[in-house]
């Protein structure tokens, strides 16, 4: 099992009454509430924490969001670039490039290839469809994100794996007469591709491509469902039994000397879940099927994230404790959900640099050694044949 340090790089200093009045933490919060001087301290501290994670032997996870106080990282390739030069060993997982929302997939192909070469093959290239609130910043048609995702993915992979000169691409969304991406990626045939998702409909495509499937805060029950969907698909398609290397899971994490302290300070992680979701931006048309949105609007689907701190822990959305407790919980996660990659949101909201670093240290020194071999003997066998086009 591998563990990845992660923060969304939040800017927590906007007065909560502003968010409440707007019913939103994203899209519409005026940037007059952003103090660049404070933010400079935050950005640099978050990046220091990533470098520290590398020193501790952890891997790194980056993401990007737009127009939100919850995440100041507006370009994962930029943060990845800063870390590629200043870290030595860590894998740098971008999860992910929001490929439907970027104007040109070839820029993604170029940027990731450049990062991969400079880091000498330490990049993991995640692609995401983008959460609903990425709709307004990019103004991408929400009804077409799945189609754009697939065309962008196909173009990027072809660009990475074509080495005989320019090719033509006249797709539905992008048209180029000369595609000839330089540099080539360092890793062959290309960096590992990970896909994040939370609905069963997304899984078959990921399984067919043999990509690692990452689920964020999806709780033990639902994660099991997703993992089983991946397994079932592999079986149906004659693909190898997926090992833990195919499954990544993100939880809100805090390790402390004692369980009491972990329970106490760990509550600061809830800042991330307690932000405001504007009803006008949260379910753009076409993001989910009309029937699913209808059920949600009529209260027929469950309400996420309104649980108590205890309940979130029972569900596996929050993992906090002393090192012994964390070992137990992570083993449970691995056994139940076949998790091979533990994505750890170690920092949220107002959590201080000092506390976060201490948590990372305790984890690296007392938890990680006990879990890093989990699942190593069950890695997915490589696919022996070319996957036929779906």
């Amino acid at each position: 099992m591998k563990a990845y340090h992660f923060t969304e790089m939040p800017y927590p200093y906007v007065p909560e009454e502003v968010e409440r009045a707007l019913s939103s933490s994203r899209i519409v919060v005026p940037s007059k509430y952003f103090d660049p001087v404070k933010a400079a301290d935050l950005y640099n501290r978050y990046l220091d924490e990533y470098e520290y994670a590398d020193e501790l032997g952890l891997d790194l996870l980056l993401n990007e969001h737009h127009q939100t106080l919850t995440c100041m990282d507006v370009a994962a390739p930029l943060s990845a670039a800063m870390l590629a030069r200043r870290t030595k060993k860590a894998n740098i997982c971008i999860l992910g490039s929001p490929i439907p929302h970027r104007d040109n997939p070839l820029r993604v192909a170029e940027e990731v290839a450049m990062l991969d070469v400079i880091s000498r093959g330490r990049v993991i290239s995640g692609f995401v469809r983008g959460v609903p609130t990425e709709t307004q910043p990019s103004n991408t048609n929400p009804v077409l994100t799945r189609e754009r995702f697939e065309e962008a993915h196909d173009l990027i992979v072809k660009a990475w794996t074509s080495h005989d000169g320019p090719f033509v691409w006249e797709g539905r969304f992008w048209q180029f007469r000369y595609v000839n991406v330089w540099p080539r990626p360092y890793q062959q045939p290309h960096p590992p591709i990970w896909i994040s998702g939370s609905s069963v409909e997304n899984v078959p495509w990921v399984a067919d491509h043999q990509y690692t499937f990452a689920s964020f805060l999806t709780a033990y029950d639902w994660t099991e469902t997703l993992v089983n969907a991946y397994r079932t698909r592999c079986e149906a398609k004659g693909l190898p039994e997926p090992g833990p290397d195919k499954f990544a899971y993100l939880a809100l994490c805090y390790t402390a000397e004692t369980d009491e302290e972990a329970q106490e300070y760990g509550k600061n992680l809830l800042w991330y879940l307690n932000r405001y979701r504007h009803p006008g931006f949260n379910t753009p048309p076409g993001y989910a099927p009309p029937g699913a949105i209808a059920k949600m609007m009529l209260g027929l689907a469950g309400k996420p994230y309104k649980d108590s701190f205890e309940s979130l822990q029972e569900k596996g959305i929050v993992l906090v404790g002393s090192p012994e407790t964390m070992i137990k919980k992570i083993k449970y996660l691995h056994d139940r959900c076949n998790t091979g990659h533990l994505l750890m949101m170690n920092q949220a909201g107002f959590m201080s640099g000092e506390k976060v670093r201490r948590s990372m240290e305790l984890f690296a020194r007392e938890v990680y050694p006990a879990i890093k071999d989990l699942g190593e003997d069950r890695r997915t066998r490589p696919v022996q044949r070319e996957l036929a086009a779906a």
């Binding site: 009804v143 048309p285 009309p290």
Partner: protein, 290 residues
Amino acid sequence: MVFTRSEASVGGVTLEVHHGGSGAPLVLLHDQDVLNQPETQQVARTLAEQFRVVAPSHPGFGGSTLPAWLDSVDDLAYVYLDWLRAEFGGEPVRMMGMGFGGWIAAEIAVRCEDALSALVLVDALGIKVSDRTTSDIADVFAIPGRQLLELTWHDPERGEQAMLMPGVGQPSLDELTVLLRNRQTAALLGWKPYMHNPKLRRRLARISVPTLVVWGESDRVVLPSYGRAYAESIPGARFEVVQAAGHFPYLEQPDELLRLVTPFLVSPPTSEFNGRGPVPTAVSVQGGAR
């Protein structure tokens, strides 16, 4: 007034069509957030006393299918042109388009001089009037239901009783699913540029049929000033305002709307550029001449 429902296959789409009444054909093109149920609407029922009212559900709305290749109002206009020819055998018809349906009607009118004999646009979308930092059309997708009532009804309380929208009223799961599918199709077709075709306003000069543009004075999705600019872009078009009505005057002030549109539709005024001469007056075949 009884409306019947049928299906028409045209250009790769299966359209759900509601028909009622008899006489000269009058095509009604519905708005995006209004369920296409003419039998429930006083304006449609009353017009069906003098016309053969034909109300299709746009591809991707109501019971009409949506092929994967159809992703623009341009596509939609051509489907409807095919349908008009198939349904009416090449005879020009009267058409009233409301909101999003008004955009479609305008796109039909600029493409084909022979499709229509008269055109009514009610609080229509589709053109760009203002500058690049001003949106003419409110972002209905980002506005929760209750607030959207305030933009679309002069009397939002009445609106809450009168119609179902996502977040408004008490729709059943099935009704809400239809409303949301309609929304999804509207988003597919009108997301960017937002609810308009940047080329359309210039092309309105091609419209060669008598045109009446009607607007609710309290419409805050598209303001009356936008409507006035729309009318001024269509040669010879007349512009009328319905008092105490918002974006849906045919729901909020049906009598007043009928007062404005019925004489126009019965006897569209001759216009100098319309070289074909006067449009035949619609004669009702029910209950004697009017």
